[in-house]
């Protein structure tokens, strides 16, 4: 490059500035939505928020930290379980939900030490085994009453409309906080470290990136987010049946959302969650064929369209709405960018 | 009567243009030395002839058959065998097992394990040893033996003296002496210019992916080859 070429390093594109504006607007509208939404719609939206959280968290772990876990239901179940425990001890159920997520994050820290030493498939299934073990141990607690389960009875103290609103707002706030936090994190130095690790772990380590600590951060963050999602799910479902929370089906959903949306892209996880939500709304009643379809789609996408829908859009158009990277714009001597 | 013909071959490593429009011909039974500095494209060219590197453009003809699209394992069946740079033995398998693998292509001919052990007598005692435990010279002998087991019509030797002591190299070339007279077509890449010109009847010198010089070793004085090797006499390449 000679002295005549100038270049700019940008983080935002015009399209992405617009997108952030839209997100802000949507968040505002969503916040006041309870004014006109009926109970059914609010329930569904709360569930949508939970799905988005799950997708974004699984994407953070797999797409950014390169850790494919088939056992995230571990945190989902534990988040719900600790919510039940805390509520049983008299803690306000909504406070219990958030507190439970912190407890699970605290558990995730020591867990990360041995688990992060595992590679690839070993890590994936290792997490699944830990999830199974947690399921069994939770079943031992008499409060849970085995597979019959128990309920978040404390929620009944609130009358239905208020309870619904509170759950909705907590879900929305959790979603925005997690999304926002992750977005900021990925645009920081830590984010650069994460992407360096994803591209080439050894090279990243050789330039001083603290690989394991960075992965640990993402691991614990994902645990927190998934646990919070579990607590929220419990609030919408009211009953805690361990089998439903510790089921590997949840991982199937997360994998579907992220693969179809676009692994490793922020926008992709959100889109994947929206698609999954739509499919579940329309086809969920179709029973088991719906699950076959999910699995087959995940299989086909992983082989044929590994970048997912958003990944393909990004690749073909260079469109970035929620950018976490950098763009290099080079001005050649002729003047064309 | 050419056994191998390469026509305007282009080879890339990603964006790097490693071999540029190279054409050459090797007659049956010839021993050709392929020389050039590191990075000149010699290994890439050999790998392309063996089928391990797909050309961006150009053709490779073996016994007048276009083999450009043929996968590597099929070319071994046709009679092309490569002794790769760095030997690339299967370290967890024994010498004998490495040799036996050479038979996978199923070509018939005079070579078998016993003949390999006769050609490289120092190997016979290490028959069952795991390939990873061998010395450099023994490894090289095993790698060559493995290629010979496929009874090749065209043998490609990539830097067989690399990493070996002078005595080991001498021993190796001594063992290869008979092979070189046997009528097998051989292309060898060799850093040691003197040795290369002693064993080969023709030399091709590559520089930055192109053929810089080619001719019979008897007719080419050493200095001319050295000049071509280092690119001392070429015109400045336009920016």
């Amino acid at each position: 490059m000679n002295a005549q070429t100038a270049f700019k390093v940008e983080r935002w594109t015009p399209a992405s500035r617009g997108a952030i504006g839209v997100v802000g607007l949507v968040a505002l509208v969503a916040a006041i939505a309870p004014l006109w939404l009926g109970p059914g719609a609010m329930d569904r939206l709360s569930i949508l928020f939970v799905y988005v959280i799950l997708a974004v968290m699984w994407n953070a772990l797999a797409g950014y930290a390169g850790l494919v876990s088939v056992g995230q239901q571990l945190f989902l179940g534990l988040g719900a379980y600790f919510t039940i425990k805390l509520a049983d001890w008299g803690v306000n159920p909504f406070v219990a939900m958030v507190l439970a997520a912190f407890i699970v994050a605290a558990i995730a820290v020591p867990l990360s030490f041995p688990m992060l030493r595992l590679r690839g498939g070993e890590f994936a299934i290792g997490m699944w085994v830990v999830a199974e073990l947690a399921h069994l141990l939770v079943n031992l607690d008499p409060l849970v009453r085995g597979e019959t389960g128990t309920s978040l009875i404390a929620l009944n103290a609130f009358d239905a409309p208020l309870r619904r609103n509170l759950i909705y707002w907590l879900a929305l706030v959790s979603l925005l906080a997690l999304l926002g936090g992750l977005f900021v994190l990925l645009r920081s130095r830590v984010g650069a470290a994460i992407q360096a690790i994803r591209d080439n772990e050894e090279a990243a380590a050789s330039v001083g990136v603290r690989v394991t600590s960075t992965k640990r951060l993402i691991f614990v963050l994902a645990a927190f987010g998934v646990a919070l999602a579990g607590a929220l799910w419990l609030a919408t479902a009211l009953t805690f049946q361990p089998k439903a929370f510790f089921s590997v089906q949840w991982t199937a959903y997360m994998i579907f959302m992220v693969l179809v949306g676009g692994i490793g892209t922020f926008e992709g996880a959100i889109i994947g969650a929206l698609i999954f939500f739509a499919i579940e709304t329309w086809f969920g009643a179709a029973g088991v064929w719906y699950l076959v379809g999910l699995g087959a789609t995940a299989l086909v996408f992983s082989l044929a369209l590994p970048r997912g829908i958003w990944g393909e859009i990004e690749r073909r158009t260079g469109l970035r709405l929620l950018p976490v990277g950098y763009r290099l714009q080079i001005k050649l001597p002729g003047g064309a960018p | 009567m050419s056994a191998l013909a390469v026509e305007k071959l282009d080879l890339h490593h990603g964006l790097l243009h490693a071999v540029r429009e190279v054409s050459l011909e090797v007659a049956r039974g010839e021993v050709v030395a392929l020389v050039g500095a590191n990075g000149a494209g010699k290994t890439t060219l050999l790998r392309a002839i063996a089928g391990a590197h797909r050309p961006s453009s150009g053709r490779i003809l073996f016994d007048w058959q276009d083999i450009t699209g043929a996968p590597a394992h099929r070319r071994v069946g046709m009679g092309i065998a490569l002794v790769p740079e760095g030997r690339r033995l299967f370290a967890s398998m024994s010498v004998e097992e490495n040799l036996l693998l050479g038979r996978m292509a199923g070509r018939s001919g005079p070579w078998n394990s016993e003949r390999v052990f006769q050609t490289f007598p120092n190997l016979a005692a290490r028959r069952q040893a795991k390939a990873g435990t061998l010395s450099g010279g023994e490894q090289q002998a095993t790698a060559i033996g493995r290629a010979l087991m496929s009874n090749p019509a065209l043998l490609l030797l990539d830097e067989v003296s690399l990493g070996l002591s002078p005595i080991a190299v001498d021993r190796l070339y001594e063992s290869l002496g008979e092979l070189m007279q046997s009528g097998t077509t051989i292309i060898l890449v060799e850093q040691d210019l003197g040795r290369a010109m002693r064993v080969a009847s023709r030399v091709i010198c590559l520089l930055e992916g192109r053929v810089a010089l080619e001719g019979a070793t008897a007719a080419l004085p050493r200095e001319k080859v050295t000049e071509a090797y280092f690119g001392l006499n070429r015109e400045a390449v336009p920016a």
Binding site: G120, E122, G126, E132, L299 | A72, H73, P84, L100, R103
Partner: protein
């Protein structure tokens, strides 16, 4: 107690049987096939369908199911695993997981929620037992499964060590690029390895169905057992797989005497203990904490 231990060892034979295919595929292709358990259940259902609707005894049914599993292995390699391996380290996990979901739910759709068993079709073999000194009764089926596991593992070892295809598979596993240069068709070697792995999966499915019950979603549990047995024994070692199966089964059997949930808890527990111990031994306390020495 002795009885518990004996039953445990024999159960270990079954685990070794189902772990063999998973371990084999991993050591050859570096893929952990998450659909492994589901494929075993698929084979079990195949034998069930042949017995239930065509009156073919499961032992004869194997003559149909095993070749079908081999073909399935070839197809699996060509259509899924070849592409998955080339696409990066994450893809095989995602693709095989998707496949497992498809198989599990398709089986549920076809056969319903009832648990099934092949025990009804093998006559008295499902409960015949032999008496050992000390008033210990061991099932003939359990002994047969154990013996089959040993023969299979031995057979795999012999195949890999002494046949030309076995050598080709080992070479491809070590260095596929050089294997091609030596004349080995790497894709074919991997396809044959997959076919072999799936035949062992078919045998494991038969054993699963004969010794107990299964339903459409049993695949997950079988995968976890196979994985745990393989890892406890040390991935890549043929006889390690047998040892791993036995250790897992013993832990489970002993755990079962303590509590009904103890069976599974002890199994998962011993797996994690062995896994973490291995990490500890590899790097000491610092290694455990992930710090460089």
């Amino acid at each position: 107690m002795i009885n518990t231990l004996v039953q445990g060892v024999l159960l270990g034979g079954y685990y070794a049987l189902i772990a063999a295919g998973l371990s084999f595929m991993f050591s050859v292709m570096r893929i952990i096939n998450l659909a492994h358990g589901s494929l075993a259940v698929l084979a079990a259902y195949g034998l069930f369908a042949l017995a239930q609707y065509f009156g073919i005894s499961p032992f004869l049914g194997l003559l149909i199911v095993l070749p079908a599993m081999a073909v399935l292995g070839l197809l699996l390699q060509r259509l899924v695993l070849d592409r998955a391996m080339r696409a990066g380290p994450l893809v095989p996990i995602l693709a095989t997981f998707g496949l497992a979901i498809v198989i599990d739910n398709a089986l549920f759709e076809m056969f319903g929620a009832n648990t099934r068993s092949l025990g009804n079709f093998i006559g008295s073999l499902s409960y015949d037992s032999v008496e050992l000194p000390g008033r210990i009764f061991v099932g003939e089926l359990a002994i047969g499964t154990f013996v089959l596991a040993v023969l299979l593992l031995g057979g795999l070892q012999l195949f890999l060590s002494f046949t030309s295809y076995g050598r080709a598979i080992r070479a491809t596993a070590e260095d596929a690029d050089t294997a091609e240069l030596v004349g080995i068709n790497a894709r074919r070697a991997n396809a044959i390895a997959s076919a072999i792995a799936l035949v062992t999966v078919g045998l494991a499915g038969a054993a699963l169905g004969m010794r107990g019950t299964f339903d459409a979603y049993s695949g997950s549990a079988q995968l976890l057992f196979a994985f745990e047995a393989a890892v406890i024994g040390g991935a890549g070692s043929v006889w390690g797989t047998l040892l791993g199966g036995i250790v897992l089964a013993l832990a489970q059997s002993i755990g079962a005497t303590i509590s009904p949930l103890g069976f599974l808890i002890a199994g998962h527990g011993v797996f994690l203990v062995v896994l973490f111990a291995r990490i500890w031994l590899a790097g000491g306390v610092n290694g455990f904490l992930g710090r460089r020495a």
